[in-house]
């Protein structure tokens, strides 16, 4: 995955466990700043290695870590230089998810070789969304769940994100929520 994602994982480890924990992780994996170049594509194996090292240090299973990282990515994107794009993408959960593909379309124009997922809202009612997720990666379910969960927090909503159905080439996520303030 892109170095941008690695930087986010690093920030998460930084925030949770401090700089030393990250430096120890770097040492263990024999990586350094050159594995965190924003605009570079790295083998997914490296991304997985970083996540699994991070999960061990955070005392989480890999799935739990992916979920946390999903939640973290939303926080990461909204507080850094990506904030403007996040704000622009949508002002409520429904429209934000509706526009995710358009957001990633811009991402794919900026980052050649990126492998981005696609999200389609297949049903939308107050407090209830069914979203179809397609990707050429596997094993990202918990990451996506975490991302949606992070979006609930972003829009001051509370609720549950579950997997409604595993289809042949996609996964349907169900989001039940209540708007907050």
């Amino acid at each position: 995955m892109y170095g941008m994602i690695h930087r986010a994982v690093r920030q998460m480890v930084f925030d949770e466990l401090g700089e030393d924990a990250w430096l120890a992780l770097e040492q263990k994996l024999d990586i350094g700043p050159s594995e965190l170049l924003t605009g570079m594509v790295y083998d997914d194996a490296l991304t997985i290695a970083i996540i699994s090292e991070a999960s061990a240090r955070l005392n989480l299973s890999i799935d739990a870590c992916l979920f946390e990282f999903g939640r973290y990515w939303i926080k990461y994107a909204e507080r850094g230089p990506l904030a403007a794009i996040m704000n622009f993408t949508g002002q409520n959960l429904g429209s934000f998810i509706e526009n995710l593909d358009r957001l990633h379309l811009a991402v794919s124009a900026a980052m050649p070789g990126v492998r981005l997922p696609s999200f389609t809202t297949i049903s939308s009612a107050p407090g209830h969304l069914l979203v179809e997720y397609r990707s050429d990666r596997t094993g990202m379910e918990q990451f996506v769940t975490g991302l949606f969960d992070g979006l609930l927090t972003r829009f001051h909503a509370t609720g549950d994100v579950t997997i409604a159905e595993h289809k042949a080439s996609s996964i349907i996520f169900e989001i039940r929520y209540q708007d907050g303030i």
């Binding site: 700043p33 965190l36 704000n87 526009n99 900026a110």
Partner: protein, 520 residues
């Protein structure tokens, strides 16, 4: 072809559209108008809600054009819409969109849903914003990379310092072993058994010394011995090799006029410099030419420093290497000594820079004279080892101010390791020198006050005053004193002065005796 779209379809293509009838009454509008301008309602007159910029509204429906460019500014708020007015029988579709800039995106007033799918302005504005974000991250990464490089350099420096200290301690031990084995050989060398054992110890010490040598190299320590060297002899002794360096096809003249003049330098260091300079000269003449290598004795470094900062016009051995090549332009000449600068396609740029480092370290200098088309001449000046002795020879007048004249050859010996001190003193005394052994700088200072010496032989790294400080004091009080420093490690703080000799520990007794003998 006539296409019919539902309101919803139009809204998804043009979320900020408006439709008006022929009396300019709003009959439909897109969600991006509704959301941002809640005051505007269906049934309102459009011109009450918006200003049509540069448009004569009386002739809006004049029927001459199917499509007109329009720009609308909301009368309340700052919203601005632009696009086209598309006319039809019953009215007009205002196919307009929000203006989007990075600023309006950052301000959060507009959202993706306010724009139609496939709106290229949206994609490019997002792209710009994303690239800006990536650039910010990249800058942060660049800083991290630079910091990491610095960290690595620091670790390397620390490691090399540790290697240096280790080497120093080990060298001291080896030095003691070596000196005392020599002592053993001198005293009991006739006994074959003892002699054999002593040789085994010596060999083992020599192997240990090789190991410390590599440690020292790792720590980038000075490992070259600095001795008075007759420069003409060095060139003469290597002339066959130098001829090979220059190669066939180039005429190579050597003219040595420095006689027996000596400079205290590293033998290999100077040889490397000459080779570097010859290679440069050769490469300046791919089609052949002539190189002249000459030596002479000269005063001062005048030509090198135009700012007049030349310290004192001391005596120097001048080595001159002139080629008949293409020469250099002013611009090239001014950059020639920069490390990593090379005018040659495959040049490393290290040649001249390292020659300069060497020359300056030895107390001399190097400079170039060149003109495009007329060849280049390099001057390498190295301080004369013993200018007063030269002068003495020239004038045949005894000048050594405080040199003892009672016939004794006095050596002030400073070494903090008692075993080494004892062995050295004994060895030198056996050679007929009169030795004052001192274990510290303090003792040495006292000895200097009481007597004058021909020679100071001192260790460098010692507690209290280090060897270079002792040497500086000794030279100040007794300017004719010769100085030999010994060490397995030269700390950065200890700078050797031109003319001081330097011997690497572990000390080889024969080499030391030769060096001392040459000083008298």
């Amino acid at each position: 072809m006539l296409l019919t779209f539902s309101d919803q379809q139009i809204a998804s293509l043009l979320p900020a559209y408006l439709h008006v009838d022929r009396s300019m009454i709003i009959t439909a509008m897109g969600p991006a108008v509704r959301d941002h301008l809640p005051d505007i309602r269906i049934g309102m007159r459009c011109t009450d809600a918006f200003d049509f910029v540069h448009m004569d509204m009386d002739q809006f429906f004049d029927g001459t054009q199917d499509v007109k460019p329009v720009r609308l500014i909301a009368r309340r708020g700052t919203m601005s819409l632009f696009g086209a007015a598309v006319f039809h029988e019953h009215g007009c579709l205002l196919a307009v969109r929000h203006a989007l800039s990075e600023e309006s995106m950052n301000s959060g007033s507009l959202h993706l849903s306010d724009f139609g799918h496939g709106d290229p302005v949206v994609l490019s504005t997002m792209l710009i914003s994303l690239q800006r974000a990536m650039l910010e991250e990249s800058q942060a990464t660049a800083i991290e990379l630079a910091a990491e490089r610095e960290r690595n350099a620091k670790v390397l420096e620390r490691t090399s310092r540790v290697a240096g200290y280790l080497g120093h301690d080990f060298n001291n031990l080896l030095s003691i072993i070596r000196l005392n084995t020599d002592r053993l050989l001198r005293k009991f060398g006739d006994d074959e058994k003892i002699s054999n054992l002593a040789h085994i110890i010596q060999e083992t010490a020599a192997r240990g010394s090789d190991i410390t040598q590599s440690l020292m190299t790792l720590s980038q320590q000075q490992t070259d011995t600095l001795l008075p060297i007759t420069i003409d002899d060095l060139i003469r002794g290597n002339d066959t090799f130098l001829n090979t360096v220059v190669g066939a096809g180039i005429e190579f003249d050597i003219d040595l006029q420095a006689g027996t003049a000596e400079s205290v330098i590293s033998y290999n260091g100077l040889l490397n410099c000459i080779i570097n300079l010859l290679i440069n000269a050769r490469e300046a003449m791919p089609h052949g030419g002539r190189i002249a290598l000459s030596t002479s004795i000269t005063r001062g470094l005048v030509t090198s420093r135009s700012d007049g900062s030349d310290p004192e016009p001391g005596a120097y051995v001048a080595i001159r290497i002139a080629d008949s090549g293409s020469g250099m332009s002013e611009a090239l000449l001014s950059r020639a000594f920069e490390p990593l600068f090379s005018s040659k396609p495959n040049g490393t740029g290290l040649g001249l820079a390292s020659v300069r480092d060497f020359a300056v370290e030895m107390g001399g200098d190097v400079w170039l004279e060149s003109q495009a088309g007329e060849g280049t001449t390099v001057y390498l000046h190295l301080p004369l080892a013993n200018p007063s002795a030269e002068a003495q020879k020239e004038n045949e007048v005894g000048q050594s101010a405080q040199a003892p004249d009672d016939g004794a050859r006095r050596i002030l010996l400073v070494e903090d390791e008692p075993y080494a001190l004892e062995a050295l003193a004994e060895m030198l005394e056996a050679e007929g020198y009169s030795v004052t052994p001192c274990e510290s700088g303090d003792q040495a200072m006292r000895a200097l006050e009481q007597q004058s010496y021909h020679l100071l032989l001192t260790d460098i790294v010692m507690p209290g005053q280090d060897g270079t400080e002792i040497a500086r004091q000794a030279n100040l009080g007794q300017p004719s004193i010769k100085t030999i420093l010994m060490s397995g490690y030269v700390p950065d703080s200890a700078s050797l002065e031109p003319g001081w000799m330097f011997l690497r520990k572990p000390t080889d007794s024969n080499e030391l005796l030769r060096l001392i003998a040459s000083a008298f």
